[in-house]
Symmetry: C3
């Protein structure tokens, strides 16, 4: 792969860092400090890797002021090496629009409005009443079912489904009467929605995903959820209908939140945990049964069940 | 959006309700009682919203007999306002076939039989030996792998996979021998299968999803499961192979049922619960560790593990 | 369906078994011992089904030496009837390439290298830098995002996403800076990846799925995971980033493993369990709260929370 290459000066300028060494050094890849080779830039974000400073083959290393005296190579001194690495990573992605070179087939309903700067992958389906604003990307094999409004600079990854029917039925003696889902799904700016996610549109009012939200793969969000800005949800979580969530939720993988709850700002939910009640104060919430070897777990299990009746 | 509009009389007739007020009032949307505006019909299904009866801007409200004296607007009196709302919601969906107006490309294997009334979305794959009966809908980007038989009036939502290979292997000294999956997946009438679901076909005999079943998004059902009629399963659940389930199962999100079990009729399983044994009597089953603040959870966790050895 | 048919001699030769009865018997299907009909071959792999030996309508039965005296029909005697059934099942699959007869449309990026023997289904997306070796199959509606390398004889099932962006961000005062994912996803030989799975490519170094791994449907594997050979993971599991797993992991459905852990060879993880710490020795690990009727669970729940403070 012959990707992009830059001078060390270019990279130092990009992150407003202080350059140490030859500004003309050519950098064509990012590598970890222990596995870097010539032409690579690396970074020291965790001091447990400091021991590699003296042996790394990196051409340059991004480093904080506090460790910079130990630098044996060229480098860039910054306040936050991890953030600087993130910023530079964008410069080494050679395929922001992988669909540019070849013809691509997708479906856009006649009532949908898609800004001309939007990138759309093959086999994307954009249904009735959808709107997509500037510089957003809808990747291959994704479906936008109906009434989905997406802001600017938002990325919807592969094989996701947005604006699907919420799971709504009224019961009668014969079984279920389907409730048609007449609301929208409103997605803000700078959102990322992972591959295989499903987000339902609202039943009457709307489902809302606010600015800056990041969803990992295979997350499910039900109808009428409101998810506050800059929330980040790990893979395989599910949030039930009509729950309202504040800003900056962080949620570990495989966790769930029941429906019709209110979750405060700045809540952290551990992995594989179910939230069954509203949360009024920020904090770190966990509800897992500790994993043990089978024979120990069996004793704990009996203990939990036996003591309940006392 | 200029969608459908109806007279209040039309709507009252549809739900066999008693009309209060001017039968010529024009209704062009459904709204919640607190947020309705002129031209909207709303409904009172939960008495905690009764306080909005006096302030709602709805043009009409669907209401039970017991609250009808408090009605300040036009209305429709019915036995079950929620069911009436569900029935009317169908009339306000303007896109039952969103694919009608534009050319659509999909794949139907030469051995598949699809009734001419079936609606098929773009990029659908319908593989060998599949059959689909009258008035069913297969939405965009869904795959029907092989030997999938679907009844009448069934909806398969977006990016689902039906009739996938069951997870079956025999072990030998080198690893695994794949067991080809030679059975069918039989789906009944009036079923809904959510976006991103996966349902395997049988290994030798069939997987069966009976009439009236409703699956939310991202549900997984393994080979040779039999799922009884009118069962409803919330998002992100998984049911392992060869389990046989009676009628009217209700299952909260992120829950699982192990394989080779028998589950009685009318069982309710809470969210985020694993069923490890057959269930012989109807009832409400739960198995979650209560979520707590991290410091409290840590104490419970130590307690569970320490006491196990006594 | 008129599928393949074989003489009993053909089948006995295939599994190196001892033929009992007429070698010319025609076999055109595999069936369970209790439901077999004329023309079917069945097998006895679990002695609880032995009672059907005398009543089965199967034309022949695959059986171990220890039960062969009880055989009432023709048969094939083998050491491992279940493995022999698995081997024969392949001969009754008439659709290894269901796409052969009809034109199929898919996307292959100009920088991707796909061996000419690879089978590709409709609507598959194969992005930049991907490589696929001999005899692998990529089924319909699957996306290979970028830098995905797949070995020989590997099957990727329907609507899966391989090589998706890992979930990586650096935080700053405004929210998140996206970390471009510059590594690869390397998948070995003889791997199966289930429908609806998502596997991220590496952030800097690679994600690796080793030879012989089998993933059921809707499994998620995050960036930089290394999953050892012959591991088998049931549906709806998730493994977080940078976890390194040995050979022969077996993992029940809906389970998770946190990130940055090390898991030894030959570990068995029960269903619906979360692994939060590295595992150094092989064994069987479980962490579920036992499911109980709601009133009993409520008592256990109170007990767990109350005792924590003592």
């Amino acid at each position: 792969m012959s990707g992009p290459s830059y001078s060390l000066q270019d990279l130092a300028d990009k992150v407003n860092g202080k350059l140490i060494g030859d500004p003309e050094i050519v950098i064509n890849a990012i590598a970890t400090i222990q596995n870097a080779s010539l032409g690579c830039i690396s970074f020291l974000a965790n001091s447990k890797y400091k021991k590699f400073l003296s042996t790394s083959s990196a051409s340059a290393i991004i480093i904080g002021q506090e460790h910079s005296v130990e630098l044996k190579t060229a480098g860039i001194i910054v306040d936050d090496p991890y953030a600087a690495y993130a910023t530079l990573s964008l410069m080494f992605n050679s395929h922001r629009n992988p669909y540019a070179a070849q013809p691509v087939s997708f479906f856009v309903h006649e009532t949908a409005k898609v800004h001309k700067s939007v990138v759309i992958g093959p086999n994307v389906y954009i249904g009735p009443g959808c709107k997509i604003e500037e510089n957003s990307v809808i990747h291959a094999n994704t479906s936008l079912v109906m009434n989905v409004e997406i802001g600017k600079n938002t990325i919807v990854h592969f094989n996701a489904v947005l604006g699907s029917d919420g799971f709504g039925y009224a019961s009668n003696e014969d079984g279920y009467i389907k409730i048609e889902q007449l609301g929208k799904l409103i997605v803000g700016n700078d959102v990322e929605i992972g591959s295989g996610c499903t987000i339902d549109r609202g039943a009457i009012e709307n489902t809302e995903i606010h600015d800056g939200v990041k969803l990992d793969n295979q997350v499910h969000i039900a109808h009428n959820v409101i998810l506050g800005e800059n929330s980040a949800i790990a893979a395989s979580c599910a949030i039930a209908g009509s729950t309202i969530i504040g800003k900056n939720l962080k949620m570990g993988g495989l966790s769930g939140i029941l429906g019709h709850l209110n979750i405060a700002d700045n809540v952290l939910i551990g992995a594989h945990t179910l939230i069954t009640k509203s949360i009024k104060k920020s904090g770190n919430y966990i509800g897992i049964m500790p994993a043990q070897e089978q024979k120990d777990w069996a004793k704990s299990s009996v203990f939990i069940k036996r003591r309940k009746t006392k």
